[in-house]
Each structure stands twice: as structure tokens, then as C-alpha cells.
């Protein structure tokens, strides 16, 4: 993986390094309620750099046609752009082959695809599916629906008060009826980085496939699916500086080959008669219909962007900023961090005494500071910590110490306003 920085003279530890990156994001240069925007909601959706916006615009203005369908020049160019993006993604996560890279609309669709296709073939009455207590709803509900359909049983790895999973409980859960494990790589509600390699190894040892929800991992740390040795890995373009409506399902080829098609339609077939349909090869067999071509182009550009900066640099920078932000927030009286795992990504979930997160969100917004408030699509996590909601500041590569200082300043306003 590339480790070259955009400015080789500057270290990612320097604020100027981050400020230079920030300037590549046109949207960040604006005022909200008369205050300079401080964007701390990248875990919900990150912003796009100029290079991604330009790549999408160039494609729309010069190369668009349908893919895999025509002999004319534009169709060829569109196909090249689309398949080029697939190859970029393959390289980025170090998959063996582009046939293992399935374009989907996002993490949610990727998980639904596996739950539906894998479930249809491999899950029978009484079988067990293991998830964890800190999953996003996208990695709970599809499995619940499958359990309901096929009369299977959902088992949940418990969590402790720091927001770390109980590995021993997981080992005890892996049993003869376990058919698949679906696990968060990085929690969007708590920031916990789960030691997924360990979890994968334990499942693989018993021949049980494992899916990793990598939506919050891919933008923030190096991901190598062959090193992880997982069977499925899913993530979204819009959380890694790419467009919305595009995402990736990586699947181990030997497993993908066994999956029945998810949806039927064009592109996923070789030949259709009314008697029988001959399905296309991977990955096309799992990609019915005209795909999100410009989204894939934008995702490819986002991969280029992250590789240009160097994903190792991204990780190093965000870890340092996380430490700075954690210290700053913890010094605020009455503030309680939710999620204090020993390995965390740039997610700071918190509650404040006598201030509901919703009020915190509104008050911060009037100071130009954008944070997410609510249950973060992880209601079981909220229930565990006995809070209705949290406020969450999440970091992106464009955030600086000045942003954190603004956040802290704005949080002082909360007490002034709410009394």
C-alpha cells in the first residue's frame, strides 16, 4: 500500500498537512449560521474531495453510456471506467481477483445480498447465526428477517461497559449449528475496533464463514481481505470520500460461486429462454440491471485519493487527533464518553448531564459545528448503556485540532443555554 503523502515535506503529524487536505474539499469552505463550518459527522457520511467530484463530472460529461452492452465508443469507455474502478477497489483491499468484487448500492445492500443468497442456500431450521451486540441495524435486521424466514436462531456476542466484545463468549457460541458469523469491524456508535482477525480465525478453524461489516474500517485503516482471511467484507463508498449509492461486497470466490443469484435481470445472465436461464459468471451474476456507473467511477477516484494520501498516514493522523479530542472532551465537567475501548477509531460518542443529545446537536449547529445525535442505527447499544441517544463527533481526514477546539468551545454554550 502506498505511503506517500501529498506533500512529502510535511509529516501527517503536522496541522498544515491536514489543512492542505481540507482545502481539497470544496464543501468545507462555507459558513453555517454565520460561523465557519466544522464538520464532525464523517461516520454518517464523509465529504468528497475535488478529485472525486471531477472524476464523476468528467464521466458524466464525456464517457457515459450503458456498460457491457454496446460496441460503440461511449459504451466501451463507460465499461472501461466501471471495470477500472473495480480493479482499483480490488487492489485497495488486496482481493485476489476482480471477480470477487461485487458492486452494490452500499453496505446495507451488501449484507442483504449475503443474508438473502447465502441464507436461501445454507440456512435451515434450527441453524444459528452469530452477530454482536454492537452491530449497526444493517447487520442485525437482514439476519433477523432471515431467521424468521428460515426458522433459524440469532445469537448475540455480549459486550462490556467499555464497548469491547467478549471473545470467550464468542468461542463458546461457535457450535455445530453455527452457519455464519456477521461482525462489525469498527463500531459506528462506539468507535471500537474489534480484533476481527482473531474472530475470523476462530470461525474459519471450524469451517464457518464470516462476514465483516467494514463500513467504518475502510476509510480509516489499511484493510487487506486476504490477510484478514474473511469470507465476506462489505463497505460503502460514501463513508470513504466517494459518492452515495455505491458500495462493495467482497466475497471469497469459492463461496461466491455457490451463492444463488440475488436479483434477476439484465447483465446477470448469459442466455435466456422461457425454459431456462444461463447465469453469467462472477461478479456479474450478482449484479442484475444497469449498475451505478458514475458512483463506481467516483468510488475509484476515492480509492485513488486515499492511496495518494496513504491509508497508513490517514490512520496515524486520525489516531493522534482522536487522542487529542478524547482528552479535550473528557475534561468537560458532566460529560461522559460512551465507548472507551482500548482500540478505537475516530468516533467520540458522549452524553452530558442535564442535556439531551438532541439539544446538544441543535446548539452545536448554531455554532457551525455538525455532529450526529440519536441512536446511530444501533439501538441495542443505546439500550446497553441505558441512554436514549448520544451525541457523536466523528473524525475524517480533513479534521484538525482547531475543529476539536471549536467543538469544545461550542459545548460550553450548551450549559449556558440549558442552564
Amino acid at each position: 500500500m502506498s505511503t506517500s503523502s501529498i506533500s512529502p515535506i510535511l509529516s501527517p503529524d503536522s496541522e498544515t498537512w491536514a489543512e492542505n487536505i481540507r482545502r481539497e474539499f470544496p464543501i468545507l469552505d462555507q459558513q453555517v449560521h454565520g460561523k465557519p463550518l466544522v464538520f464532525l459527522d464523517s461516520a454518517a457520511s464523509s465529504q468528497r474531495p475535488r478529485s472525486v467530484i471531477d472524476a464523476v463530472t468528467w464521466y458524466e460529461e464525456h464517457d457515459h453510456a450503458n456498460v457491457h452492452r454496446g460496441v460503440h465508443t461511449l459504451s466501451q469507455r463507460a465499461t472501461d471506467a466501471f471495470e477500472g474502478a473495480r480493479e482499483k477497489v480490488r487492489g485497495f483491499i488486496n482481493a485476489e481477483s476482480t471477480s470477487e468484487i461485487v458492486f452494490v448500492s452500499g453496505t446495507t445492500e451488501g449484507i442483504n445480498l449475503v443474508a438473502s443468497s447465502f441464507g436461501q442456500k445454507f440456512i435451515a431450521e434450527g441453524d444459528e447465526i452469530i452477530i454482536s451486540h454492537m452491530e449497526h441495524h444493517a447487520n442485525i435486521v437482514p439476519w433477523q428477517m432471515l431467521c424468521e424466514r428460515n426458522k433459524a436462531v440469532l445469537r448475540v456476542i455480549p459486550m462490556d461497559e467499555r464497548g469491547e466484545l467478549d471473545y470467550q463468549a464468542y468461542l463458546d457460541m461457535l457450535g455445530p449449528r453455527t452457519r455464519i458469523v456477521a461482525l462489525n469491524h469498527v463500531s459506528n456508535a462506539l468507535g471500537t475496533i474489534n480484533p476481527v482477525k482473531q474472530y475470523v480465525a476462530a470461525a474459519r478453524e471450524k469451517g464457518i464463514p464470516i462476514l465483516l461489516d467494514g463500513a467504518q474500517a475502510v476509510p480509516h485503516m489499511p484493510v487487506d481481505v486476504r490477510d484478514l482471511d474473511c469470507d465476506f467484507f462489505v463497505f460503502s463508498g460514501h463513508k470513504m470520500y466517494g459518492p452515495t449509492g455505491i458500495g462493495v461486497l467482497y466475497g471469497r470466490k469459492s463461496l461466491l460461486e455457490q451463492l444463488p443469484p440475488y436479483q434477476g435481470g439484465g447483465d446477470m445472465i448469459l442466455a435466456v429462454t422461457f425454459e431456462k436461464t444461463l447465469y453469467n459468471e462472477l461478479p456479474y451474476r450478482l449484479e442484475a440491471g444497469t449498475p451505478n456507473i458514475s458512483g463506481a467511477v467516483g468510488l475509484g477516484a476515492a480509492v485513488d485519493f486515499l492511496q495518494r494520501i496513504g491509508i497508513d498516514n490517514v490512520q496515524r493522523r486520525e489516531q493522534e487527533l482522536l487522542a487529542y479530542a478524547t482528552t479535550a472532551l473528557e475534561s468537560i465537567p458532566g460529560l461522559r464518553m460512551i465507548g472507551t475501548a482500548s482500540h478505537k477509531a475516530g468516533v467520540l460518542s458522549f452524553v452530558m448531564e442535564r442535556a439531551h443529545p438532541h439539544d446538544i446537536g441543535t446548539i452545536l449547529d448554531t455554532e457551525g459545528v455538525a455532529v450526529r445525535t440519536g441512536h446511530h442505527c444501533a439501538m441495542p447499544v443505546m439500550e446497553y448503556f441505558k441512554v436514549p441517544a448520544t451525541a457523536r463527533a466523528s473524525l475524517g481526514i480533513y479534521n484538525t485540532r482547531a475543529d476539536i477546539d471549536k467543538l469544545v468551545e461550542a459545548l460550553q454554550r450548551v450549559r449556558e443555554v440549558l442552564g
Binding site: H33, P357, H358, D359, I363, A389, L418
Partner: protein, 148 residues
């Protein structure tokens, strides 16, 4: 936008010390309100006597806007007839959503403190949750209502 338009002194006060914040058990009518967006939960309880709302109380958790709104609602509605309560609901609803109306917020007494909410579209549901729940109780619906 001035935050003081939203978090007026009355709102801050009713959030910090909500009025009629208790359970009525048994209650003639009650309903649960739920706002899935922010996790707000409210229980509204009331007793009727001769067509009047003799007692009205609420319990639950929520943001300052939803707690203050519920507190103000109990003060405004207690002692009124059911018809008057429903009319008040309509008027408050119009005020919160900025609908065309001949209601002057000034006629609504302390409830007018909620007028600023209309400038914050994402917060309208917080202020209206208690009212929807009250109406659900009056309609004798036993199911939980939601703002979605």
C-alpha cells in the same frame, strides 16, 4: 438564528423542573408516545370528570423541547373540556408548523414560548409529540403513537 428564540427562559425552566411530571395510576385514559428519531418516550395520563380534564400528567425522557412542551401542555390543558383541549392542539400544531392561521401566539399564553420551534424544522416533532400523545389518549387509542 438566535438560540434564545428556541430556548426561551420558560422552556429552560420547564425542562429543568417539569410540572405535572408524575404517573396517574390508575388513569381514566393514557397513551404512550414515541419519537424513534431521537428516542423520546412520553407517557400521558389523564382523569376526566364531567367532561373536563380534571387531572393531566406525563412521564418519560426527552430533549428540552419535548419535556418543556409536555410540561406546558399539562398546565394549559388541565381543567379544560375535551373540546377545548382538541382546539388547543390544533392551534399549537399550526403555530409549530407555521401554517396559515388566524391564531395569534399571544392568545396561547405560555405556550407561545414554543413559537420559535418553527424555525427549527428538525425539532417540530419534539414539541408536538406530547400533543399527539394527548390526542391519542383522548381518542382512547391504546396503541403507542409515533411521530413517524
Amino acid at each position: 438564528m438566535d438560540l434564545r428564540d428556541l430556548y426561551q427562559d420558560i422552556i429552560v425552566d420547564h425542562n429543568r423542573s417539569p410540572r405535572n411530571f408524575r404517573l396517574i395510576d390508575p388513569a381514566d385514559l393514557q397513551a404512550q408516545g414515541y419519537n424513534p428519531l431521537c428516542g423520546d418516550k412520553l407517557g400521558v395520563y389523564l382523569n376526566l370528570r364531567d367532561g373536563r380534564i380534571e387531572d393531566l400528567a406525563f412521564q418519560g425522557s426527552g430533549c428540552a423541547i419535548s419535556v418543556a412542551s409536555a410540561s406546558l401542555m399539562t398546565e394549559a390543558v388541565k381543567g379544560t373540556s375535551e373540546t377545548e383541549a382538541r382546539k388547543l392542539y390544533e392551534q399549537v400544531h399550526d403555530m409549530l408548523t407555521g401554517a396559515e392561521t388566524d391564531v395569534d401566539p399571544m392568545d396561547l399564553g405560555k405556550l407561545a414560548a414554543l413559537a420559535g420551534v418553527r424555525e427549527y424544522p428538525s425539532r417540530v416533532k419534539c414539541a408536538s409529540l406530547c400533543w399527539h400523545t394527548l390526542i391519542a389518549a383522548l381518542d382512547k387509542q391504546s396503541d403507542a403513537v409515533t411521530t413517524e
